[in-house]
């Protein structure tokens, strides 16, 4: 008994040692900067000590609208990514064995080149004399170029394009893990394909869907440069923070904005974990 206990203690010590490097990194390079930002947000610009004024300064109708803008864009991005990414992950998981790893590679490779370069590729495609307009014209579907660039849709496209792998991978993983005999069984019992999907596949793959949604939604809230490049002229939280930090050079209000953003996204993450989505299984 004592021997076993001793063994268990040794095991426990080893486990703690295992995640020690991660803990050190988390404390030094995550907690410290966060405390720094938090401290900034709670001190006055003139160095007169503790204040909540920076947070009060955020209570403006236009700032709230900016936060709403970011949340809205992140929501649409997540929804579209799910609509496209889930079937893709599904098909990937049901592909023949030999194809799976190749497909996985093909999904990840684009993300090894700069997102900016790829977005410029989209701009070339979408512009007035670009490939898409040219094709549509030669097919006789339109006679005047569609102005894709600068629209909300083009910003959304860029967002989805940059985030979709974070949706595909967990969805693929969830479908891959699923026991398909259950679906077969429900079909054999006479369920229509649609019913079988809704009643069996969807609930079973829900954790993957949830994980994908969090992995897409959370970073999407803070992204702003994609909208800038697509010429969308949107004001997102990221724009606001950048202008506050770099243009107005007011670190204190800028920090308060960042803290609010972190609290918001971390809140969503926590709700997700409360709902039982403990592992954000990517693969």
């Amino acid at each position: 008994m004592t021997h076993k206990q001793q063994k268990e203690r040794a095991q426990e010590r080893r486990n703690t040692l295992f995640f020690a490097p991660m803990a050190v990194l988390a404390v030094l390079l995550v907690a410290l900067p966060l405390i720094y930002v938090l401290g900034m947000s709670l001190t006055a610009n003139d160095g007169s000590g503790f204040t909540l004024a920076n947070y009060k300064a955020l209570l403006r109708a236009d700032y709230l609208l900016v936060f709403a803008n970011s949340l809205k864009l992140a929501f649409y991005t997540t929804a579209v990514s799910l609509l496209i990414g889930y079937p893709f992950g599904y098909c990937m998981a049901r592909a023949p064995r030999g194809w799976k790893s190749l497909l996985m590679m093909l999904v990840i490779i684009p993300f090894w080149t700069s997102a900016l370069v790829r977005i410029f590729g989209w701009k070339i495609l979408l512009q007035g004399n670009g490939l898409i307009n040219t094709v549509l014209k030669s097919l006789g579907l339109i006679d005047k170029s569609i102005k894709f660039l600068g629209s909300y849709g083009s910003v959304l496209l860029a967002m989805v394009y940059c985030m979709i792998s974070f949706m595909i991978l967990p969805c693929h993983s969830a479908v891959d893990k699923m026991d398909f005999t259950l679906v077969e069984a429900s079909r054999d019992l006479g369920a229509k394909p649609w019913r079988a999907f809704l009643d069996v596949t969807l609930p079973l793959t829900l954790p993957g869907i949830m994980a994908g949604c969090v992995l897409v939604f959370v970073p999407s809230v803070g992204i702003f440069y994609l909208s800038d490049i697509m010429g969308g002229g949107l004001v997102l939280v990221g724009n606001l923070i950048r202008d506050q930090l770099l243009k107005v050079r007011d670190w204190h209000t800028g920090s308060a904005m960042s803290v609010l953003l972190v609290v918001l996204t971390a809140g969503i993450y926590l709700i997700y974990r409360r709902c039982g989505g403990d592992d954000l299984g990517v693969m």
Partner: protein, 351 residues
């Protein structure tokens, strides 16, 4: 366990490497340049400098003046030897004590510069900054798309331009443009004037199709928009791609910008930096820079050796006729800067 220990050791090594003191590098044959990517050409400018002097050039880049300023302040005006940035941030850097005077005994050819471009607000006594290039934002439009003749800012409000404008996504530049159209200074901080400008900007909403800081020429060339208010090199690039485009020097007034080189106060290789300034001021080097960067050159001597194609282009040479109309965007105190940002945020939210 061995691998774990290895990993921990590696991490520890990294930390120590990172924390280790910098070697004293005063006498190294190195020059650290900090500017935008591609702003000083490698093969025609930097490589010849390296060959001539034996100095190895490191070229670090930033995306915006503001980011450069943050970085330079954080490293206490050290780390870099030459910084190339825009006028208003040059002024901020000088006021913050982040610059050192260049050595006039090494930089003997400052006189090559056209006096119209020196003694400016960012360096009134010509002690710190060597102007590199200069630019003026202009209106470029496609007469095949735009039905009216544009000759000033006021025309941008014409109802026929609905959804065909591209403007610079920058509070100071674009609100400044509105202020110019009202006959006001781009740097006014008068609340009433700014409120009126905000209202006038609001009226422009219908005509705007796209807001972007750079690369607006692409939209004009591809036909996505009919007219853009954009910086000199982009105007020139647009004309390269489509010679039928028309360029407008707005009659109400002009924005003006100078990008200049300076040596940070704690530059590790200030001696090499001074040699580089002397090199950059040489007429043939300045000419090559202007030709490649598609900007106006402030170097009078360079105009004698520059290509004829360059002097034939009005985007680059027109500045000399309108020198007195041109106004800089000055750096303002945070509270005033905030006013511009607020107007801009409100405006963009309503788009």
């Amino acid at each position: 366990m061995k691998k774990l220990i290895c990993l921990l050791l590696m991490l520890a090594c990294l930390f120590t490497c990172a924390i280790a003191e910098t070697v004293n590098a005063k006498d190294e044959a190195v020059l650290n340049i900090f500017t935008w990517e591609g702003y000083i050409d490698y093969s025609t400018v930097i490589e010849p400098f390296e060959k001539e002097t034996g100095i190895k050039v490191n070229y670090a880049t930033f995306a915006s003046n503001e980011e450069m300023f943050e970085k330079l302040s954080a490293v206490n005006g050290g780390e870099y030897d030459i910084i190339l940035a825009s006028d208003y941030i040059l002024n901020a850097a000088r006021e913050a004590g982040l610059m050192q005077k260049f050595d006039a005994s090494v930089v003997t050819n400052f006189g090559n510069l056209n006096p119209d471009f020196t003694s400016k607000f960012f360096d009134p006594a010509n002690e710190y900054v060597v102007p590199y290039v200069s630019g003026i934002p202009l209106i470029v439009y496609d007469p095949a798309v735009v039905e009216i003749e544009i000759d000033g800012f006021e025309d941008l409000w014409d109802p026929s331009l609905k959804d065909t404008l591209g403007l610079i996504d920058d509070a100071r530049v674009t609100i400044g443009m509105v202020l110019l159209s009202m006959g006001q200074s781009m740097n006014t901080t008068d609340e009433a004037v700014l409120a009126e400008a905000a209202k006038k900007l609001e009226a422009l909403k219908e005509n705007i199709h796209v807001l972007e800081y750079e690369n607006l020429h692409n939209y004009v060339v591809s036909g996505d928009i009919g007219a853009a208010y954009t910086f000199t090199p982009f105007v020139a690039l647009a004309l390269d791609a489509n010679p039928d485009l028309k360029v407008v020097w707005p009659k109400e007034g002009l924005g003006f910008g100078i990008d200049g080189l300076f040596i940070p106060v704690n530059a590790p290789h200030a001696g090499n930096a001074n040699r580089f300034l002397e090199y950059m001021l040489r007429p043939e080097v300045a000419a090559v820079c202007a030709e490649w960067q598609y900007y106006c050159t402030p170097n009078a001597a360079a105009l004698d050796v520059i290509g004829d194609w360059y002097t034939a282009r009005s985007e680059f040479m027109g500045i000399f006729d309108r020198m007195n109309d041109a106004e800089f965007v000055l750096n303002l105190p945070a509270a005033d800067e905030q006013k511009f940002q607020d107007i801009w945020t409100t405006f963009k939210l309503g788009l």
